[in-house]
């Protein structure tokens, strides 16, 4: 079970012919897969396609009814390699991951897959994490398509079009024997819309059929001389077949308009923003009827030269709208127009920014600049009203809101311990990793010098492996560990006699991507499965110094990391920091507790409290925590200027702020409130005796105090 349950939504996957689907883009695509008769699906989670994996995981019943295999692949490379089942068998397949990072990981297998070619339609749904809200380096997946000659589908973002293009993608893949990318952006994944559904299709050829009658095609193995033949096959057969299919089926679209001497060419995914910009400029209506002819590339690779030449032949100029860089398509366009001996001018990055997302404003400005160059008569004179306020004053008042660890997160006490350790021990070179643990590099902890990729935290301190002296530390999560960190980091460290310290944060899930199960999860997709243990795994690859510790024992964590830093043991020292992801834990425990309270069982709920009278507003506690529930409020004392710390009601009582106060000797303001529900008789007896004595003494002091008042 992932962070978000799709149990309700997956019912929509059963809709038959003629029904109307309402829902998110990513769910629509899942439905599209079932309508296309896929035989197996898989992938690796990551925004914005995590939900696709979650939907598939929650849709086990439907998938098994249809005979579709779902694999929660261990990494994107694994997912890509799995697609080899479609090389020699007519099995339709789909996998998904976050791109470009996931495509980077998968690219070895993808190159091999693309070289061998497929006979079963093979679609890789990539969540292109570019622009606002992106969490990764800003690159284009386009290059991968070009280098491996895999087709790149970038559909207009509306549900009927996306589903239709997905179905066509399988056909295109099959007729051209080529695996292809189906690219979706964050907003398209979360897009709510509707489309008319078709019946789901059982795969006509099954995985069992393949195993019963294995096919071995020597020329599809990636060894010379076949590799040379495969390259030729790509160029001579597969590419032309793809272009023919694209043309025959009208995958790219032309929306003509009366202003025939200019035109705009763009990636399908940008359709809505181009139309909105044209509407803003008064050149299109609400239905998308346009004054300026448009050529929409729902397939952005390969380009269809003839279509492009036909579109531009009689035009003075076209605007090529291509998001991100380098501007591969614009460059190709120059060559294509040159070969076609066109006089048409090409605008692109000259009027649009080279880097960054093309939002409505950018697009409007870009198109306006293009018009000014070639059709100044179409440029509207009015400037849109912009904000009338003083932005510089506002900018100063508004704080940035970087992401951070959740309330009660088990990684918080670990990073607090690290911060305290650095204070005593001195600064340490720390290689950080991808995952929730990445947030340790942000305020308030600022622990970690580099991030090199998922599961590569351990590998990225390899340069320091032979230094004997002050040690380096690497941090990685359990997700990254199983993704590749065990081999790339730990096994390699053993082999190279690395003397550094390797910390593995075991929160039980791939937490950052939404709490998916991993091999060492205490429960998993397949409940009765044998659980892998990180400790056994690292010992298995030869680590002699392995310690396990509970993350919330801050003092012990600090002492253990110090021990690892100073131990006389040569060789990698691995510390596994255990503490279950609080989001997942709360999801499991909270309903149970509420249920118990309702049914009259004794329960204790804990949460923290800060004494506002003793808090002096230094916020040292917050500098060691950053917990969302540990916040500030104005001091109740008018003489004090600084706000005091305050614990809000979202506190889950994990105890970190109290332990920090103890461990860092902060202040006596923290208190743990334990609220007892359905108290036992013994609770009540104790309480009344205690209250009797304490109440008497308190009343006595109150009276004394009341004698002199001001």
């Amino acid at each position: 079970m992932a962070e978000r349950s799709f149990a309700k939504e997956v019912k929509k996957l059963r809709l038959g012919a003629g029904a109307t689907f309402h829902g998110e883009g990513i769910l629509a695509v899942t439905k599209g897969l079932l309508q296309s008769g896929v035989a197996y699906v898989g992938g690796y989670q990551g925004s914005p396609v995590s939900h696709l994996m979650d939907v598939l995981a929650d849709a086990q019943d439907i998938l098994s009814e249809l005979g579709v295999h779902f694999e929660a692949n261990g990494s994107e490379a694994n997912a890509a390699a799995m697609l080899s089942a479609s090389i020699s068998y007519p099995l339709r397949a789909a996998v998904t991951w976050k791109s470009t990072v996931g495509t980077n990981v998968a690219s070895d297998a993808l190159s091999n897959l693309a070289s061998a070619g497929v006979i079963g339609g093979t679609v890789i749904i990539i969540g292109e994490d570019y622009g606002e809200g992106a969490s990764i380096m800003q690159e284009r997946s386009h290059a991968f398509a070009m280098k491996s000659q895999m087709w790149l589908i970038n559909p207009r973002p509306n549900l009927p079009k996306m589903v239709d293009m997905l179905e066509k993608s399988f056909q295109l893949s099959e007729v051209s024997n080529t695996p292809l990318f189906f690219q979706m952006r964050i907003r398209a994944c979360h897009l709510h819309g509707q489309f008319e559904t078709k019946d789901n299709i059982r795969p006509s050829f099954t995985l069992a059929d393949a195993l019963e009658n294995p096919i071995r095609e020597a020329d599809k193995i990636i060894l010379p001389p076949f590799t040379f033949l495969q390259e030729k096959h790509k160029i001579e057969q597969r590419w032309p077949a793809a272009v023919k299919f694209i043309v025959d089926n009208g995958l790219n679209e032309i929306f003509d308009g009366p202003q025939g001497d200019i035109g705009i060419i763009f990636e399908g995914g940008l359709y809505n923003v181009v139309i909105r910009a044209l509407q803003t400029l008064g050149l299109a209506d609400s239905l998308g009827e346009t004054q300026v002819p448009l050529y929409v590339m729902n397939v952005t690779y390969p380009l269809v030269d003839a279509e492009l030449v036909n579109f531009a032949r009689t035009k003075r100029a076209v605007l090529m709208v291509e998001e991100g860089q380098p501007n591969y398509i614009e460059q190709s366009l120059n060559k294509i127009f040159n070969d076609g001996e066109l006089t048409c001018k090409i605008s692109g990055k000259d009027v649009l920014p080279t880097a960054g997302e093309y939002n409505g404003q950018v697009m409007t400005n870009g198109i306006a600049a293009f018009l000014k160059k070639y059709r100044p008569d179409l440029t509207p004179p009015e400037v849109r009203p912009s904000s009338v306020i003083d932005l510089s004053e506002l900018t100063q008042a508004i704080p940035a809101r970087p992401p951070g660890l959740c309330t009660g997160c088990p990684e918080r006490p670990f990073f607090a311990a690290m911060k305290m350790l650095e204070k005593e021990y001195g600064e340490i070179h720390i290689s950080a990793d991808i995952g929730c643990n990445s947030f340790g590099t942000l305020p308030p902890f600022q622990i970690g010098n580099t991030i090199m990729g998922y599961g590569l935290g351990a590998a990225s301190n390899a340069a320091f492996s032979s230094v004997r002296g002050k040690r380096a530390i690497s941090i990685m999560g359990d997700g990254g560990f199983w993704h590749n960190g065990l081999t790339s980091g730990i096994a390699s460290a053993v082999y190279n006699d690395n003397d550094n310290v390797f910390i593995i944060v075991d929160n039980g899930y791939a937490a950052a991507t939404g709490g998916q199960y991993i091999p060492s999860s205490t429960r998993s997709l397949k409940q009765n499965e044998q659980k892998a243990r990180i400790q056994n795994a690292v010992q298995g690859v030869g680590v002699k110094w392995v310690r396990t510790i509970h993350s919330y024992d801050i003092g012990d964590v600090k002492a253990l990391v110090r021990e690892a830093m100073t131990s006389s043991h040569y060789g990698p020292k691995v510390i596994v920091i255990e503490g279950e992801c609080m989001l997942n834990r709360q999801r499991r425990e909270k309903p149970l507790k509420s249920q118990n309270i309702k049914s009259g069982l004794r329960e204790v709920k804990a949460r923290f409290y800060v004494e506002a009278e003793t808090c002096t507003g230094d916020h040292a506690c917050i500098r060691l925590s950053g917990c969302p529930s540990l916040t500030i409020k104005p001091s109740p004392d008018i003489l004090r200027e600084d706000p005091v710390a305050y614990v809000d009601n979202s506190c889950v009582g994990c105890g970190v702020c109290g332990d920090n106060a103890h461990e860092a000797v902060l202040c006596p303001s923290f208190s743990r409130a334990e609220l007892i529900f359905n108290p036992s008789l013994w609770d009540r007896i104790k309480n009344s005796v205690r209250q009797g004595v304490i109440g008497y003494l308190q009343r006595r002091t109150d009276r004394k105090r009341a004698r002199v008042m001001l």
Binding site: H22, N272, N687
Partner: protein, 488 residues
């Protein structure tokens, strides 16, 4: 050409922006509108803000042909912007999504502080007034109220309040019942959500009222004196310059509460002596009244024990953790007394003795270190009650002696400075702000304070420079900024 109605919702994790979006989409579809929504959570799914964007379009206008709707808001093209937190509203305006010709801005005025604001060593909070002023100017219509406290008082989620406020704004062409139908159709927590919806609806009908500024003190202090001595004290406070009275009264009350009426008298006498040397607008005395009171009420073990054993504290505590009236609760205090603090509560001669004797030091060390004490248990309570009772000997304790030595030195320094440079004297007073907290925090603050005082002692320091040093001392807790300034 008709344009769609465009709506932006900016919400933080857990505020139910997704639920709100679903209600809007479902309502619009029920009312024969095309509706399209999308969102950008990104990494923001962990504690950051999520932006939802919706467009709706009447089906009748296009003869049922779906229009092309955008996936992201465009500056100058937003009809309704809902922000579930004040700074997120400000951020939307910063992105130019709020414009005078179109935008109805519906914002909650409460704050969810960001980490940078929270972790500052002093007050790092952003200026809400700036944002509210800008919002009022930027929007066509500005609907703002504290949605969070309203939600808390109605025991509902903030998303239902926002939904009500959207309905109340009258910017959507749907009757109130259609909104309520959407809540019912979703079928989750219907009663609570309808209640919240109603509260939000009504709140949105009222125009935004800026929070009334707390009236700065005017007139005479009346107080609640119940003895001759106390009455005399009130009279003396009222004899002070008017601008000083509020702080002097708060200070005297604080010190009466902290120690006894004589201590308050002691405080007031010092304030008066400086007031006599001060002139209008009495900035120096005003600042002194504040910082002297804070210093004289230094945070010793006795104070902490006193506060934690009071009946009023139990009431406040129970309310804050939301304990039900008769519910049994435990209050487990995290204490970490250090040797200095324990020795500090001993009378000076005894404290000196302990410091000299290794046996006694060893003995008293037994009482130090991290401990949890549940003040609802008799043993723990008695222990703290006993510590609080040491108030009667506080004046004889080592800590008192140390603090008052510092206070005297500080007042002398203020006095000397006053003879030559008024502003410098004021800045010296303000440096007391650095001394706060316990343990290491206190040691660090006092260290910075002493370092700055030493620079002042060497002479040739301007008031401005002292202010800079104080700011530098509050810039980071490793003393980097202050060191840099000293080096400069």
């Amino acid at each position: 050409m008709t344009r769609p109605i465009t709506i932006v919702i900016s919400a933080l994790g857990g505020q139910g922006g997704g639920v709100l979006t679903n209600w809007l989409v479902n309502m619009a579809e029920q009312c024969d509108y095309f509706a399209q929504s999308t969102s950008v959570p990104g990494v923001a799914q962990r504690t950051g803000a999520t932006i939802y964007y919706l467009e709706i379009f009447p089906k009748a206008e296009t003869k049922n042909i779906p229009p092309v709707m955008a996936l992201m808001p465009m500056p100058g093209d937003v009809d309704i912007l809902v922000a579930a937190e004040l700074m997120e509203a400000g951020r939307a305006a910063q992105r130019q999504l709020v414009t005078r010709d179109k935008t109805t801005l519906i914002a909650s005025t409460h704050r969810v502080f960001s980490i940078a604001e929270k972790m500052a060593m002093g007050d790092g909070t952003g200026d809400s007034d700036v944002v509210i002023r800008a919002m009022g100017k930027a929007a066509k219509e500005f609907i703002a109220f504290d949605m969070e406290s309203l939600a808390a008082s109605m025991n509902c989620v903030i998303s239902s309040i926002m939904f009500g406020a959207i309905a109340g704004s009258g910017r959507l062409p749907f009757a109130r019942e259609k909104f309520e139908d959407a809540i019912r159709a979703e079928g989750k927590m219907v009663e609570a959500n309808l209640k919240g919806f109603d509260a939000g609806y009504r709140a949105a009908e009222k125009p935004y009222e800026p929070k009334k500024q707390i009236q700065s003190f005017a007139g005479k202090i009346t107080g609640h004196a119940n003895s001759k001595q106390a009455e005399a004290l009130i009279e003396r406070i009222n004899a002070l310059p008017e601008v000083v009275q509020e702080f002097a009264y708060a200070g005297a009350k604080k010190l009466l509460d902290y120690q006894d009426i004589d201590y308050a008298v002691q405080y007031l006498t010092i304030v008066e002596s400086f007031a006599a040397k001060d002139k209008a607008p009495h900035v120096l005395t005003h600042e002194l009244a504040r910082y002297l009171a804070l210093w004289m009420a230094f945070d010793d073990v006795i104070k902490v024990a006193d506060i934690k054993t009071r009946s009023a504290r139990v009431r406040k505590y129970r309310a804050e953790v939301r304990a039900k009236p008769e519910q049994i609760i435990h209050m487990v205090e995290y204490m970490h007394p250090r040797l200095e603090e324990i020795i500090g509560t001993l009378p000076v001669p005894m404290a000196k003795l302990v410091q000299k004797s290794s046996f006694l030091t060893w003995f008293f060390k037994k009482f130090t270190g991290p401990r949890l004490s549940d003040t609802t248990k008799i043993s723990s309570f008695l222990m703290l009650y006993f510590m609080a009772s040491l108030r009667s000997i506080r004046r004889k304790t080592l800590r008192y002696d140390q603090e008052h030595t510092h206070i005297t030195g500080w007042l002398n320094q203020v006095g000397h400075a006053l003879e030559v440079d008024y502003d410098l004297a004021v800045e010296i007073i303000r440096c007391q702000r650095l001394i706060k907290g316990y343990g290491e925090t206190h040691a660090r603050g006092l260290g910075n304070f002493k370092a700055i005082m030493a620079v002042i002692d060497r002479g040739q320091v301007t008031a401005g420079k002292v202010g800079d040093m104080r700011e530098a001392a509050l810039a980071d807790d490793e003393g980097k900024a202050l060191k840099q300034l000293f080096a400069a």
